[in-house]
Symmetry: C2
Subunit: 375 residues, 2 copies
């Protein structure tokens, strides 16, 4: 049975939504939760919700709270007895298998880095989320952890994202795109153009570097298919399984799509108000797919967004999470804890290091060998 | 009667869509169009559409075409007899009041810069588009002309965008936001944090610079209200009239929203396929607001996106424009040509130069005077 550490003080509606969500989780799943926060308040909530003696919930007192105003790295180092930091300490100590928080996402990232540490070979962790496409799902990363990453970091995220898409979305050989303002090579920023140059080593067709002349090996050594630069609309078209971008752009895209979905919902509601009774009946039915999209673009609603590249399982939930979102996050965290995402990620990063290592550093013998086996 | 130069060779469906759109335009509006492109093909299209002798259409032969693969600045300098370049030359020579093209938008930008030139004080022009909000419209810029702008350039766009919102959307004192990954000050990129520092001079509340101690004057001297950093979803909420961002982010946001709208449409269609006849009737009604949003997010559909900050009127249409889009663009170009957007923009840029000029360069006397009057 997985043991999940839940920061009870993170959400806008904390600690009520966390307590309510955790009760629902332990009553529907085989899972054990360590609820971390102000003990008196947590016991009060548990009592109010009739779950004070719940067998699979343990309350752990945390005297401090990291707020949205706290600068992430300082908060993590100074607020050692905060509920969020303590959740990560529990994972580090082996007392819990995963940490969940709906608090300050920058502080979550800092906790991941300072407490759990990075997986071997990973420069910066990333937050990944899944967006609905016309034919399934697309994993988009980074969602806001790193606003100014380096090209090599983006190339690593292509690898981390493809492991995630393979293990969680069941894509055997994920198609990976790099988000840009056009598919043409002269488009993009300095960052995207340089990242494209690295990722192009993964393919024959778009290889740009003369030193990767034996590019057919690039494809053989790669567990994913690099499809090149993609545009915003390609995220939703179903032709790509993973889209890589910096955390600034990823965050802005996610929130813009949320905003657009809200406008559509409002416009539809307006039309319904004007419609006759028959049409209104039909219109009510039409709200379902719209709600579905809204839920899917709101990453916390379906279980939180994992932090990829850290040595442990951590899920970041939306600040506006409700009890259902927390319940789902506990369930998903349990699945993650029982998978081998970390080990798979470490192996994949080692295997694909030829993408971001300087070309000169790749010995000819290694470059020509089939390095497809896990290292 | 405005005279509009239309590049007939730019759209994916060129020259048919341009010819068809222009015929519709001159038959419904008081406008004169110079259709620029391959003369033989244009005459053939006009004949096929029964408009060979149309009084308000003049055909001008252009032997060259700028393609999507042409590098913008080279194309503009080398293809002097291209249909796009010739449209701008007509505006420059005073033979036309506005230029329209659905071709290579980078080349449009280059034509704007090299042929028309920048308005006094403007560092880089920007492409602006309008997005639907819950209560009206939001002007978003830049949509892709400049991927790596400087902070001072973004601050200028706040001014250009606010003039546009005032003149075209009727907002008396536009509320301007800077797109970021959070409203908190420690969020954002190096670019957004530095731009925020400049724009904060426009307000009392969020002034960050000690040297603008007399910040109440900042507000008095400003024609717009700087509301600070906004998130992606704020673009659609109706609380802000202008949102400023770099061209990379703007382009990605616009296309992501287009893509999300497409997914919603597809999901709704799927539900309709499953629904009974009554619900299907209602569902059909629901397509209207969705189509509306799709049309509004597709900037070319409602008349093209103007290039702000150049000395003349130029509208960029979507490559996938249909005849209706071209017709609308001709109408909107006529409105722009008859407004004084250029003069207003020049005056506003001069009046707001205290935002991006180095603080030391602002004499105390000037800083304390009410500089609200047009300079």
């Amino acid at each position: 049975m997985p043991r999940i550490a839940v920061d009870a003080m993170g959400a806008d509606g904390a600690p009520r939504v966390e307590v309510e969500g955790v009760i629902a989780a332990v009553r529907s799943e085989q899972t054990f939760v360590i609820l971390v926060g102000d003990e008196a308040r947590l016991r009060h909530e548990l009592k109010e919700l009739g779950a004070l003696g719940e067998a699979n919930i343990e309350v752990r007192h945390a005297p401090e709270v990291i707020t949205m105003d706290d600068a992430p790295s300082i908060a993590v180092k100074q607020k050692k007895k905060s509920s969020m930091r303590m959740c990560f300490d529990l994972v580090k100590a082996g007392e819990a298998d995963a940490a969940i928080s709906a608090g300050n996402s920058g502080a979550m990232m800092a906790c991941g880095l300072f407490v759990l540490g990075r997986l071997p070979g990973v420069e910066r962790p990333a937050i990944v989320t899944s967006l609905p496409t016309q034919s399934g799902e697309c994993a988009l990363l980074d969602m806001g952890a790193n606003v100014d990453p380096k090209p090599a970091t983006l190339a690593q995220w292509a690898v981390l994202g493809s492991v995630y898409a393979r293990m969680l979305h069941g894509k055997a050989r994920p198609r990976v795109g790099l988000l840009s303002n056009g598919s043409e090579e002269h488009k993009g920023t300095v960052l995207t153009r340089e990242t494209h140059r690295l990722l192009a080593r993964a393919t024959t067709a778009t290889a740009l570097d003369a030193s990767t002349a034996s590019t057919s090996e690039g494809r053989d050594r790669c567990d994913f298919e690099y499809v090149g630069c993609v545009e915003g609309r390609d995220v939703f078209r179903g032709d790509v399984d993973v889209v890589v971008t910096d955390g600034f752009t990823g965050n802005v895209v996610l929130k813009s799509v949320e905003g657009a979905a809200e406008v559509i919902m409002a416009m539809v509601r307006e039309e319904i108000g004007r419609a006759g009774p028959l049409a209104r009946l039909g219109a009510a039915l039409m709200m379902k797919p719209l709600r579905h999209l809204k839920r899917r673009t709101d990453y916390a609603e379906y279980g939180g967004a994992p932090l990829l590249g850290v040595d442990g399982v951590a899920l970041i939930c939306h600040g506006g999470s409700n009890a259902r979102a927390i319940k789902n996050a506990v369930r998903v965290a349990g699945q993650f804890a029982q998978s081998h995402l970390g080990d798979e990620s470490t192996a994949a990063v080692a295997r694909h290091a030829f993408l971001w290592e300087t070309v000169a550093a790749v010995p000819a013998a290694q470059a020509s060998s089939k390095a497809g086996a896990t290292s």
